[in-house]
């Protein structure tokens, strides 16, 4: 349909780019795999695999150790990705990019290192009722440690935390506001620039969980005037095991390390140690070097495709899924207005999501059933669990049509047993 006309920034069609993703050839239960679980992790393009393979084959040595040429090459490539990442998200300096395992680790780092230092008894931390557990539990724990108060903002009916809503939850005691960029269940987008502005007016710092957001919209951390932004490479075409905490330099500089060991030290005396500058202060031990390089290749790939294409293709697919499901009528869609990011939360009426997921699985369709690591949102929707179909720009309208066909049959869930 529309996708023939839709081209990537480098002039290619969906059919072209599918060839870049080996897993688009995969099969499940004797059917071509239809991968609609992109909210959990994305598929990886060949270029990411190649960069990682090249590193291990040709210069797979440790970084920032010794003076040998091959070590220099690895270190240089490793640090190049830091600069590339800084440019990608609009950071002022490469030293504001801290390599971490994933979004969860990035947010924990902020909660421990920054939170432990600034929070006092009676202070307040604001989160929303639609956060992923990664942007909820670390703050809950921080509040307990410091006898601070966790303030949970209720989003609007579409799952969005508007600046007006946020204002109702801010006070002179607010020290940290931690909100999602895009919701992993409801697909809602928050206006981070406006939210950060309100947060700063209240004298607090603004932490953004970008795990889903950066997949759909390029953040501009400087223009938006954020304080911290966290994301994982693996949802953005990169490998697992590597993510990024971006923080404003002046904030990172005042934060103590939270893990100790090699690579993060300045001078180790017998009874005392001084620590390296930011960002190395937060990168104890050998880092996932191949994964960092893979993330660099993934960011290059995103640039070659372009966010405009990603957004438009997701919107086409998301819109068709919502309209198709509503036309079938055997289901409830929880975010009928937020399909633009290609994440649809729904249930087949009267069918437990696991039973429905079993029907999809049998037909080669992989999607998510459960609480999506987001029990706060399940409470908000007043359901135990849901199905979640999350598409990416390499998915096709044909796949969506097949998905809709199978959705009609999801009531026959016992078929999987016989």
């Amino acid at each position: 349909m529309c996708e023939e006309k839709l081209l990537t920034a480098d002039g290619r069609s969906v059919a072209d780019i599918r060839k870049d993703f080996p897993m688009t050839e995969a099969e499940e239960n004797g059917h071509p795999l239809i991968y609609f679980n992109n909210g959990a992790t994305s598929l990886k393009p060949e270029c990411v695999l190649k960069v990682m393979d090249d590193y291990y084959r040709h210069y797979g040595v440790n970084v920032a150790r010794g003076v040998d040429a091959i070590g220099y090459k690895a270190t240089h490539a490793f640090e190049e990705v830091r600069e590339q990442t800084a440019r990608f998200i609009g950071a002022k300096k490469a030293s504001e990019i801290v390599y971490v395992r994933n979004t969860t680790e990035a947010l924990n780092l902020v909660a421990y290192s920054y939170g432990n230092q600034v929070l006092k008894e009676g202070d307040e931390i604001v989160v929303s009722a639609a956060e992923h557990h990664a942007n909820y539990v670390p703050w809950q724990e921080l509040a307990k440690r410091k006898k601070a108060r966790l303030v949970v903002a209720e989003p609007d009916e579409n799952g969005v935390v508007t600046p007006e809503i946020l204002e109702n939850y801010l006070s002179d005691k607010t020290k940290i506001v931690a909100l999602f960029h895009i919701s992993n269940v409801l697909g809602a987008s928050n206006d981070l620039k406006a939210l950060a502005e309100r947060t700063h007016e209240a004298g607090a710092v603004f932490v953004a969980d970008g795990a889903q957001g950066i997949v759909h919209e390029r953040p501009d951390v400087t223009d938006w005037d954020l304080d911290f932004y966290a994301f994982s490479a693996h949802k953005l075409l990169g490998p697992t095991g590597i993510g990024v905490l971006w923080g404003k330099k002046e904030l990172l500089d005042q934060m103590p390390p939270w893990q100790f060991g090699g690579e993060m030290i300045d001078q180790v005396d017998i009874y005392d140690t001084t620590y390296a500058e930011v960002p190395q202060r937060f990168e104890a031990g050998t880092m996932p070097i191949a994964e960092v390089l893979g993330m660099g290749a993934a960011l290059d790939y995103v640039d070659s495709v372009g966010y405009d294409f990603i957004r438009r293709q997701n919107e086409i697919l998301g819109k068709r899924m919502v309209e198709g499901l509503q036309a079938i009528g055997n289901n409830t869609v929880y975010n009928p207005n937020n399909y633009a990011n290609g994440v649809i939360a729904y249930n087949i009426d009267g069918v437990h999501p696991h039973d429905a997921a079993g029907v999809y699985d049998r037909e080669g369709i992989s999607l998510r059933a459960g609480h999506h690591c987001n029990q706060p949102t399940m409470r908000f929707l007043d359901v135990q669990s849901t199905l979640r179909a999350s598409v990416s720009f390499y998915n096709t309208t044909e796949e969506v049509e097949k998905f809709l066909e199978v959705s009609k049959k999801a009531g026959d869930f016992l078929d999987v047993l016989f």
């Binding site: 437990h352 696991h354 039973d355 079993g358 609480h371 135990q384 016992l414 999987v416 047993l417």
Partner: protein
């Protein structure tokens, strides 16, 4: 019976237990019951089983929870099968059911309606759904026996809450 006749029959049995669950609903007064609540945090299944015993005999089993058709139908079958058995007979039935879903040799005679869930053995990702209720019963019975061996007068009552255990994991 042909394969399709059998699968038709099994399908009816599973659907019947799912739509008309046996022994559903917990006792208002939990005194006198061993109450076990097991959750599978990865999928949200959440099941509570209550067992009333007198000496070696199981007098009553109640069950209630949230879960998929396999989890709920299986818990219903379990409650029906174990009621009126002795503890050691019940443990043997549980063992046979577990063998079945793990695609091992099992004694179909012992597990009544639950034989209709044999298809689970081809769906390893659903084994935990099918065994949740059985694991809860097994835990409860173990606790009753442990309490008794410690000479506790109230050995037959208590409450256990846990995430689905990993005791079925293969030893390395």
């Amino acid at each position: 019976m042909s394969y399709s006749d059998q699968s038709h029959l099994f399908r009816q049995i599973v659907m019947d237990h799912y739509r008309n669950p046996r022994n559903k609903g917990l006792a208002k007064d939990p005194r006198g019951y061993m109450t076990v609540r097991l959750k599978n945090p990865s999928c949200g299944d959440d099941l509570t089983v209550q067992i009333k015993t007198e000496g070696e005999k199981i007098l009553e089993i109640r069950q209630q929870g949230e879960g998929c058709s396999i989890c709920c139908a299986s818990a219903s079958m379990m409650s029906e099968l174990l009621e009126a058995e002795t503890i050691s007979e019940a443990e043997e039935i549980i063992r046979q059911f577990k063998l079945m879903v793990q695609a091992e040799d099992y004694d179909a005679e012992k597990i009544g309606d639950a034989v209709s869930l044999q298809g689970v053995s081809r769906l390893p990702q659903r084994v935990k759904c099918a065994t949740l209720g059985w694991q809860a019963a097994e835990r409860g019975l173990k606790q009753i026996q442990k309490n008794r061996s410690e000479g506790r007068a109230d050995h037959h009552e208590g409450a256990i809450e846990a995430d689905v255990d990993k005791e079925d994991e293969h030893e390395i």
